[in-house]
């Protein structure tokens, strides 16, 4: 365990929206205290100065989607003792992983006038598909207090306390009326990992799985239930292929529903 104020923190960005690293700057009440506890050695969004590595903790935001990123993540792994991926892009590939089901060359032509200028991999993949990751913190975006918990756990040499049960647990604890039971609103809460505080049901909408699949999630039975309630297969494919769609068991289930749609309509 490093001496207080001496642990060197690095924050890296790959293919992402910046929202998860912004969560650090959104810790308005804790930010200055955090800067006293750890040395923010590399954090381009916040600092111009860079302290050279190696670093004690590296936080990685973003997925791996270009040839340069696939090389750079290996260097990042080498310079960090403890590597934590933060957010859906880094832990699942993120929304840009939708390209994994598409033709990237067609995507390039759709968006850019000169597709030949664009260097991009055919897939956007989680960091753990490329290097060993010590801890994965889910969320689109991450919950900033969970992020603080992970950093605090590292600084005190204990395991981070991040629950892997479903959103339903948080939802019941908040005293919400179930949106699916009461209003028939499709909700991915039963198969989604907790972490947001059951935000969507608290605002009377169904969960859309920002925190990815929960421990032992069973999407098939939930999706059967959706179909009995009138959802069509393409609706289910879209629901599962959201911000964490490339994680199992979401991926396999959406693939099954897609092929069933082709077969049976």
């Amino acid at each position: 365990m490093p001496v207080d104020g001496q642990a060197k923190l690095a924050v890296y960005k790959f293919s992402s929206c910046d929202g998860c690293q912004l969560s650090i700057l959104d810790l308005e009440d804790e930010l200055l205290a955090l800067a006293e506890r750890v040395k923010i050695a590399y954090f381009l969004e916040a600092r111009r100065h860079v302290d050279p590595g190696p670093y004690d903790v590296g936080l990685v935001e973003g997925s791996i989607s270009t040839p340069e990123e696939a090389e750079r993540i290996i260097d990042v792994r080498r310079e960090c003792k403890f590597l934590v991926t933060i957010g859906a892009c880094a832990t699942s590939g993120g929304i840009q992983a939708l390209r994994n089901w598409a033709d990237v060359e067609e995507y390039k032509r759709t968006v850019y006038a000169h597709p030949d200028y664009i260097r991009s991999l055919d897939t956007a993949t989680p960091v753990a598909a490329h290097v060993l990751v010590d801890f994965e913190l889910r969320g689109c975006p991450v919950n900033k207090y969970q992020l603080l918990e992970v950093l605090g756990a590292y600084l005190t040499g204990r395991r981070p306390q991040i629950p892997t049960y479903s959103v339903c647990m948080e939802c019941k604890r908040s005293g919400n009326v179930c949106v699916m039971v009461a209003h028939g609103t499709p909700c991915l809460g039963p198969i989604t990992q907790a972490g947001c505080g059951a935000l969507c049901p608290s605002y009377h909408r169904g969960c859309y799985a920002c925190f990815g699949p929960s421990d032992s999630a069973g999407p098939r039975s939930l999706c059967r239930f959706f179909m009995e309630r009138g959802l069509a297969r393409p609706d289910i494919v879209r629901m599962l292929r959201g911000f964490n769609g490339y994680l199992e068991p979401f991926k396999q289930t959406s693939d099954e529903y897609e092929s069933d749609h082709i077969r049976y309509g």
Partner: protein, 439 residues
């Protein structure tokens, strides 16, 4: 960041910043000077493309605000607002009062958090000679804690009415999923009132900074409304006399794709750069500020037209104070018993939306099919529109910067780029060309 420069005796000088710091996303600056001539200025954007306009095709209209929010973690509300307005237009729906005003409230929250983040955490260190807010906090503790509290109050607006600060979940086509209870809104109102004195102090503080000389004949472009300072609606106007409806955006502006950037460059139809963002908005809408703010501007010596973008930090300060006052005014009238959204019936159509993101106008266009699935999406973010203007500003500023020692020259160029609060994550993934120009 480390600047690499060649020996000063050499006739060719290069200023290179390989990773721009204190901006959102990944960019680099490259300047080459041959003799007295500035041979090349490039703001390289190597932020990887994420192809949003391609992946939106086939998605349902009700997913669009959730997906486009993910373009930018700093201004997700802007993406949600522009996409909702565009989809609503395609469906022939207009969201009227009181939801229209509550959308302005949500946007106030985003302006406050984004502007204060930029003013104090990202930009002020340039003016005060610090490499980051961490160093600045050691000497200006009260200023930084005041700024963090004000930023938090802005974030509280977004988290109460949007569900959370980053990627709000409570925005939908037609309005909101649910509206928070009045008691919660009253607590928020108190928090804003507590932070209002600091918001005014912040304006005076940024007005007292020392600004490098810069006087550009910008074409300012912003929205303009009949009586209000613009957020969600209006006509697109410019300081050169342009005055068009939002739906005509693509007739007056286009994007070009250059080799050094994964962001497309926005230009006017006749190929000129233009400026969007707080300074453009304020220049074009100064008369839309309340008299109390106009008199504060007179007091601090801020007058329009202001053509020095280093002073955009003052414009952000004024807009932050405006947003605090406007949010207070809206919350004082808040009624939680109204219907949170209109009922939406999808139909085929094309819709355009343009709203004022913290960094400037953000245009969206969607072609939606019968079942409410997106057929085609076009998104023009503010930083892509500003990119040619940033390079143009650098060309104009470099002669005075190059008279400085190398490290100082590099820092001033970075500061100039930060004037734009560039959001490189936003600017990359775009955009289909409407008029193609090769470089």
């Amino acid at each position: 960041m480390k600047a690499t420069t060649s020996a000063t005796a050499s006739p060719t000088r290069v200023i290179e910043v390989k990773n721009l710091a204190r901006v959102e996303g990944e960019g680099a600056l490259y300047v080459r000077v041959a003799g007295d001539e500035i041979a090349e200025v490039r703001l390289d954007i190597f932020e990887p493309p994420r192809f949003f306009e391609a992946l939106l095709r086939g998605r349902s209209y009700n997913e669009v605000p959730d997906i486009t929010a993910r373009i930018c973690g700093i201004c997700p509300v802007a993406y949600q607002m522009s996409s909702c307005h565009a989809v609503e237009q395609a469906f022939g729906v207009t969201v009227g009062e009181p939801l229209r005003t509550l959308r302005r409230l949500l946007y106030c929250g985003e302006w406050i958090e984004s502007h204060v983040l930029h003013m104090f955490l990202l930009h002020a260190p340039d003016f005060l000679g610090y490499e980051s807010v961490v160093g600045m906090a050691a000497d200006h503790r009260d200023l930084v804690t005041g700024a963090l509290a004000l930023k938090k109050a802005g974030n509280r607006i977004v988290s109460l009415f949007g569900g959370r600060e980053v990627h709000p979940i409570n925005v939908r086509v037609g309005g909101f999923y649910a509206l928070p209870r009045k008691e919660r809104a009253d607590e928020l109102l108190e928090e804003l009132r507590r932070n209002r004195p600091f918001a005014e102090q912040a304006v005076r503080f940024v007005a007292g900074l020392k600004f490098p000389e810069l006087d550009r004949s910008y074409e300012f472009v912003a929205l303009r409304q009949p009586t209000e300072y613009p957020f969600n609606e209006g006509r697109i106007v410019s300081s050169n006399g342009l005055d068009i409806p939002i739906a005509a955006f693509l007739n007056s502006f286009h994007e070009e794709h250059v080799a050094h950037s994964n962001a497309l460059h926005g230009r006017t139809k006749d190929g000129r750069p233009y400026l969007v963002g707080p300074l453009a908005r304020l220049n074009l809408n100064f008369d839309r500020l309340p008299e109390s703010l106009r008199s504060l501007c007179r007091e601090i010596g801020f007058t329009v037209p202001c053509r020095n973008n280093f002073k955009s930090i003052i414009a952000r300060g004024i807009e932050t104070l405006y947003a605090v006052d406007h949010a207070i005014e809206i919350l004082e009238q808040y009624d939680d018993s109204v219907a949170p959204h209109l009922d939406i019936v999808p139909r085929a159509g094309i819709g355009h939306g343009c709203t004022e993101a913290p960094r400037g106008i953000l245009y969206h266009r969607y072609d939606v099919g019968d079942e409410g699935l997106v057929r085609r999406a076009t998104i023009c973010p503010p930083t892509a529109q500003n990119q040619p203007q940033i390079e143009d500003d650098l060309r104009a500023f470099l002669p005075q910067a190059l008279a400085l020692p190398e490290e100082e020259a590099t820092l001033r160029c970075e500061q100039l780029i930060r004037n734009y609060d560039p959001c490189i994550s936003c600017a990359t993934h775009f955009l289909r060309l409407h008029v193609e120009r090769t470089t």
